[in-house]
């Protein structure tokens, strides 16, 4: 139950940047589909760069909201590690699927 609650709260945090993340992933995958494996390194770093910008944006404009999560026992480190790992893993998974079904 506590795990489900934690997941629900982390998803709330992830929603902060879900839309821009989906848009960037979609653009990267469209480029990957068009130009093939030769462009993968470039789109991978593009994805990472946008996540760094997102991290900077949230730390600048939404830092006060960290207290909500901390008061519920979820640290900044946990919020970011779970959401970034998930986001990058999803990106790689979708890139593999795009390559397979190209």
């Amino acid at each position: 139950m506590q795990l489900l609650k934690k997941i629900r709260i982390i998803i709330t945090f992830y929603r902060n940047f879900l839309l821009p993340s989906v848009i960037v992933t979609a653009c990267c995958l469209a480029l990957f589909r068009e130009y093939g494996f030769g462009i993968f390194v470039a789109i991978f770093w593009l994805k990472i760069a946008t996540l760094v910008i997102t991290w900077h944006f949230i730390n600048s404009y939404k830092k006060k909201e960290y207290y909500y999560y901390q008061n519920l026992g979820i640290s900044k480190a946990l919020l970011w590690s779970v959401t970034l790992i998930f986001d990058i893993a999803l990106f790689i998974f979708l890139a593999v699927q795009t390559y397979k079904f190209k």
């Binding site: 609650k5 629900r8 709260i9 709330t12 929603r15 902060n16 939404k62 006060k64 909201e65 960290y66 207290y67 909500y68 901390q70 008061n71 519920l72 026992g73 640290s75």
Partner: protein, 217 residues
Amino acid sequence: MTHILEADGIQLEFDGRKILSDIYLQCTTGKITGLLGRNGEGKSCLMKIIYGSLKAEKSVRIDKQSQNKAFRQTGLLVYLPQFNFIPASLSLKRIFKDFEIDYTLFEKRFPEFTSKYTSSVSNLSGGERRLAELYVIVKAAAHFALLDEPFTHLNPVQIEKIKELLIEEKASKGFLVTDHMYTQVTAVCDNLYVLAKGKTHLVKNMLDLETLGYAKF
């Protein structure tokens, strides 16, 4: 069960200026501890240091166990910052669910929230938003609650109700409260400290507030 929160050995400086240097503060279950101090004396910093969100040289202990980042342990410490901290997109329903608090009791105490259960925080007025944030922190399942300016933005009726709530809740919790509405703080607190020139002073009588340069009677 009685819990004891102690903070000392705290050193904090900004740009070579010492903010906190000689601190001793104790807060126990069943007591409301007040913390007063002029602007810039470091009251909010002290709370953040105790909570663990601001790094500093320190010794913070709960039941004699050292706590470097107290907030990481669920049920130990919650903190109401002086600004709004709940994401505006969340509904009251969701917030009360996250903190596992009964909304009907809240509605009963504050009837102005009747029919606002599904409202998002962004649709509340500034005072309502502050009240909801304060209520969830006061009622949250934790040994201690640190309240930074809990009375600010509330109307007099709400302040009286919050004071009643604090007195009820202290049976199972310890509170550390700071607010410039010092008459409200002194009305509910069992212990009172004044933070002046980086040091905490335990107040023995109200005249100490004048001696320490905090208030003028």
